[in-house]
């Protein structure tokens, strides 16, 4: 008797548990719908031929005559290859040198005592709240009058070669390295540069990856400053080119959609491959 009752209780809790799980998946799927639906619709639009309507009641989601024509048209009318190449060049060179320069600067802030250290560090931190757009007016003058790199990708690379945020993050990482490791290196007669390169950098590799990803995403998606600097179409990055495409193809939603899909795919592939590093990198900066 008791056993039967137990089994019953067991069954109902198991049932409740299953129902609850299903409910959670329903909630999760609904949220997923909200976050990816615009993309799904744009992908569908990008494959629609001229006979497939974009606007109809009810909306048509699956193209009846799927076609690559929109992609080919956009690729032929705009220098998409240049956009990609420019974006890759800008992003890769920025990431490499930014990580190098900020890792160099983070070492003395974390592990050395020298006159002016705290003053310089707090001055740098204070610039962190300054809106970047505020610096663009003088930077524009510099680009035109001093550096003469207006309308070239160098105008995007140089100002991004060091960022206060990255110095700050790497300094935190260097501080966790035990002093004994560094002292051991000094006793062995290694130069400070050598200590930095062969003792510190390998230890803080996860932090370097974080900084690299933050810089990568920021630079790849940057728009305001690049749109001020780049005017010749073949010099544009993907984001500037995409905004340009929207202006050119105002009456061609299918073409615009194809451009958007082409622009999102590279970063999406990288995201899928490096998902863990991405999420840790972009959110790990805030540890209590």
């Amino acid at each position: 008797m008791n056993q039967i009752q137990n089994a019953n209780v067991h069954n109902t809790t198991a049932l409740r548990h299953t129902l609850e799980t299903i409910l959670w998946y329903v909630v999760l799927c609904l949220i997923a719908l909200v976050t990816v639906f615009p993309f799904v619709w744009v992908i569908s639009t990008s494959f629609k031929g001229p006979t497939d309507v974009i606007y109809s009641v009810p909306p048509q989601l699956i193209p009846q005559n799927p076609t690559f024509a929109n992609y080919i048209r956009v690729w032929n009318q705009l220098p998409m290859g240049n956009f990609f190449l420019n974006s890759i060049l800008v992003t890769v060179s920025t990431v490499v040198f930014n990580v190098l320069f900020t890792a160099l600067a983070a070492y003395p802030f974390a592990k050395m005592k020298f006159p002016g250290r705290d003053v310089i560090f707090y001055l740098l931190l204070a610039t962190f709240i300054v809106p970047p757009q505020l610096t663009y007016i003088p930077s524009f003058v510099l680009a035109v009058n001093v550096f003469h790199y207006y309308d070239t990708i160098f105008a995007l690379i140089f100002p991004s070669l060091a960022t206060v945020f990255n110095i700050f993050l790497l300094r935190q990482a260097f501080r966790t390295v035990p002093d004994d490791l560094i002292d051991a290196g000094r006793i062995d007669g290694a130069s400070e540069f050598r200590i930095w390169w062969s003792i510190l950098l390998p230890v803080v590799r996860p932090a370097l990856a974080t900084v690299a990803i933050i810089t990568f995403v920021a630079q790849w998606n940057d728009f305001f400053w690049p749109s001020l600097m780049l005017h010749t179409r073949t010099n544009m990055t993907l984001q500037v080119g995409l905004a340009n495409l929207q202006g050119m193809f105002t009456s061609d939603s299918r073409g615009v959609a194809a451009g958007v899909v082409m622009a999102i795919i590279p970063i999406l592939i990288i995201f899928v491959l490096l998902q863990k590093q991405f999420v840790r990198g972009l959110t790990g900066a805030v540890k209590g």
Binding site: F39, P59, L123, P131, L134, L242, I264, V279
Partner: protein, 291 residues
């Protein structure tokens, strides 16, 4: 030998400091100077004292832009509430939960231009939103979403929120996973239900993340530009309905060549962000001491 030792830290700092000095420190000083000049980027600046600021006080569009930027700050509380709820949802140990987290993260990495264009296509008069609303019978005639001044800011703010959801959710999720399990067990023993449990333990436990997000997302809100530009183009919406501080700065400096005047706008922006950040950090830190 001694000299070399003395110089070493500075040598490490040199490359980064040169870049930051040229592209951040110098511009801040220069923009303060420009704000007291009549200046059009191509012609040299000419000292005019406080004239730009006097003009600013009497400029109705500037006040409109200021108001719009403050309205935009509403994205911060919405993001915090939504993202705490989202983080609690995705904190369940369910099979495949990682896939859902990744899906929610896609808008974060896709870039505001691509995402903004997606939204433009959806909110277009001939777009998806009108098709859905019409076929559900909610509206009888298509609405011109992007041409209606009353909708300009709400649509842009919705876009900002939508793009931020995944990011702030992950920040809160990392915070939730740092809260010791025993606290929840203790709450269950004390007879808390699910909601009380989160209200009394999760929310206070997320204080550092809330502080961070309040500062970061309100700075981002006050500096908004891309969403407005890509949704409404260089005019910033019908009747300036989408013109924010940074948008106005951009228009004055780079469209109308009034770089001196734009620098005055920049100074106001700087004062606001400084006051705001200091205020935020003070207020939230005081709160955490009390807790």
């Amino acid at each position: 030998m001694f000299k070399k030792r003395f110089l070493t830290p500075y040598l490490f700092l040199t490359p980064a400091l040169i870049i930051i000095a040229i592209f951040i420190i110098y511009p801040i000083v220069a923009v303060i100077y420009y704000s007291f000049t009549d200046f059009s980027i191509v012609t040299p600046p000419e000292w005019v004292g406080l004239r730009n600021f006097q003009q600013l006080v009497n400029d109705p569009v500037f006040w409109q832009a200021l108001l719009h930027s403050f309205i935009y700050l509403l994205v911060t509380p919405v993001l915090i509430i939504l993202c705490i709820i989202l983080a609690i949802i995705v904190n369940r140990k369910l099979p495949g939960i990682h896939i859902f987290r990744a899906i929610y993260y896609i808008p974060v990495i896709s870039g505001s231009i691509a995402v903004g264009i997606c939204w433009r296509l959806m909110f277009d008069t001939n777009g998806l939103l009108n098709s859905i609303l019409l076929s559900l019978g909610i509206i009888v005639e298509p609405i011109q979403w992007l041409a209606e001044p009353a909708y300009t800011l709400p649509i842009a703010m919705l876009l900002t929120i939508w793009m931020g959801l995944g990011y702030y959710m992950m920040v809160f999720l990392a915070g939730l996973q740092n809260i010791p399990e025993e606290l929840y067990d203790a709450a269950l023993i004390d007879g808390c239900n699910n909601w009380q449990k989160h209200w009394h333990i999760s929310v206070p436990g997320l204080r550092p993340q809330i502080t961070f997000i309040v500062v970061i997302s309100s700075l981002a809100a006050i500096e908004v530009f891309n969403e407005i530009y890509i949704l409404y183009g260089p005019l910033g919406g019908v009747l300036n309905s989408g013109v924010t501080m940074v948008f106005y700065l951009w228009r004055q400096a780079f469209r109308l060549q009034h770089a001196g005047y734009a620098s005055a706008v920049a100074i106001v922006l700087l004062v606001i962000t400084l006051a705001f950040s200091i205020g935020n950090i003070r207020y939230l830190e005081r709160g955490s001491e009390a807790a």
